[in-house]
Symmetry: C2
Subunit: 324 residues, 2 copies
């Protein structure tokens, strides 16, 4: 029995998640869906952005679909971004962010790459201090051999599913020789031991950003640290048609949380205009990588492709997805 924990969250999360669930239920008859809370509204009601019950539900289901959450633009005592808390508490240590061309909405027709973003450390470990004077703030970036090897092993796993097999390690080791150096060298060793020596390449992050725009065909699997992955995946979503078309999978051992990269879009929440495709494509990642149902994922992505060939994003709303 397959189980899915849905966490719609705030704003359009409440709209795109039900659309994606309907699609998944079609593909997986008997899928057992439970709903859990997280986000800003949840924080206001319960004083925490991710209640313990939500973590329990996620652990029981093994698979989850997250919508989006709002965050206050000012600092709120005790508030923590729900998605960061989920990634950390559930040890979702890798974030998988595919970027590909879609009919009509993509500026090019030949882009097909996959960003593997380290999802647990770097500058995201939450170690920041303000000196007493209030004039100097310090943040620590941690890079561990363990996490670097983990993401490289995921890269090996994913590489075999792809026709084009090239791995590009993206870092800034010319300025950060110890942290980025450890990342690069640990990844490289795992990849080489897996027999992938010939396909491993590397780029400095500044150059990679430019090349993702100038020659995206140079990339196949791009493996990088947390914050670089955050920046580069938003950037590369340009080729998919923007953030509204950017899916992701927060990926741990035996547990995965699908997450459209877009935000809660309070300005269009409730208008029925929210495009559910990023949520739907995130579900396809659950199918392919977590449930090992590649054929169903192909079927789903194929349906999205046909839909996009026929109608424009502007016409797309919760209703249209019934055609998928």
């Amino acid at each position: 029995m397959m189980r899915l924990c849905v966490i719609p969250g705030d704003g359009i999360g409440q709209e795109v998640v039900p659309s994606a669930v309907r699609v998944l239920e079609k593909l997986l008859p008997g899928l057992e869906v439970t709903e859990a809370e997280a986000g800003w509204e949840c924080f206001r009601r319960q004083g925490t952005s991710v209640p313990e019950t939500t973590l329990q539900q996620m652990r029981e289901c093994g698979a989850g679909l997250f919508g989006a959450v709002s965050s206050p633009s000012w600092q709120v005592e005790g508030y923590r971004s729900a998605i960061l808390a989920l990634r950390q508490s559930l040890q979702l240590n890798v974030n998988l962010r595919p970027v590909r061309s879609w009919p009509r909405i993509s500026p090019r027709s030949d882009v097909d790459l996959l960003i593997l973003r380290e999802n647990s450390e770097g500058l995201y470990i939450g170690r920041e201090y303000m000196q007493q004077s209030g004039n100097l703030a310090i943040a620590e970036a941690h890079i561990s051999r363990q996490a670097s090897e983990d993401i490289a092993r995921r890269a090996v796993e994913v590489a075999v599913l792809r026709t084009s097999r090239r791995v590009t390690l993206v870092h800034k080791a010319n300025v950060l020789p110890l942290t980025c150096g450890l990342f690069r060298d640990s990844c490289r060793r795992v990849l080489e031991e897996a027999g992938l020596r010939d396909i491993v390449d590397e780029r400095l992050v500044d150059v990679a950003a430019l090349q993702l725009i100038e020659c995206p065909e140079e990339f196949d699997l791009l493996v990088t640290t947390n914050l670089f992955g955050d920046i580069l995946s938003d950037l590369a979503s340009h080729w998919s048609g923007g953030l509204g078309m950017a899916p992701s999978l927060n990926w741990g051992q035996g547990i995965a949380l699908a997450e459209p990269v877009h935000g809660s879009a309070p300005d269009i929440a409730g208008t029925g205009k929210a495009n559910p495709l990023a949520a739907i494509l995130s579900s396809a990642l659950l199918l392919r990588y977590h449930w090992h149902a590649g054929a169903l994922a192909d079927q789903l992505e194929g349906a999205v492709e046909r839909l996009l060939a026929e109608i424009s994003i502007a016409e797309m709303g919760g209703e249209t997805t019934q055609r998928i």
Copy 2:
């Protein structure tokens, strides 16, 4: 008497710097030029990538033009990137990186923005540690009120020179509330006190990266921290025609070092194919911002514009620039 310290460095630095110097000498008759050493070849000869005499020459001249340096791809005991050493030793605390459309080579004709990159701190302060086990490396990012206020004051100074006046602060305060928060708030206060409240906006760095590609016209002055500025300026050079057309100015109090953003390109060094325009346009930044000779800078940029309307980058070499 105006003085210029040239630091050609390695590879094509040796070719593009003389071209730029010829142009500057035409515009500033009597310019006194002295040459100084830095870089990898210098390290191999003298054991340091930036000799003390080079720093002295720079301090005496007040203005410098840096070419490019090679760096070993492996770690070399005692070697430090020459440009990082120069920025730090000479307190060149702000890096100015304009991005604009040029005839024929730019993918759009209407881009005109200026990136102000903090140039002294963040992850560039060189505080990195490896734990004894060798399994965890830690890097510190420092953000100070002082450096943040300094760059904001530069933004005020620069804003008055531009017709379109908007400032976008780029940070990642949703994940780094203390460091990025200090940067944002310090900048904002300086800008507001200077009466620019109405034109200050902000973006998260991931969103900014995508928007620099999707809607570059949204940006005018983009003010950001060191590493974000590194990534975003390489990326945005897409609109200028790539790194070969990306100039920059490392800017301190009463001292400035112009620097083409490209590297030493050992593969084309000596072939006469190196495009000197980034070095020449970096000289224009010295004219405009350090020597306060805006009219000469306009004249120089106008000449580059006419040249590009006539010939292609492929035809461009050291010789062609005699036409500027």
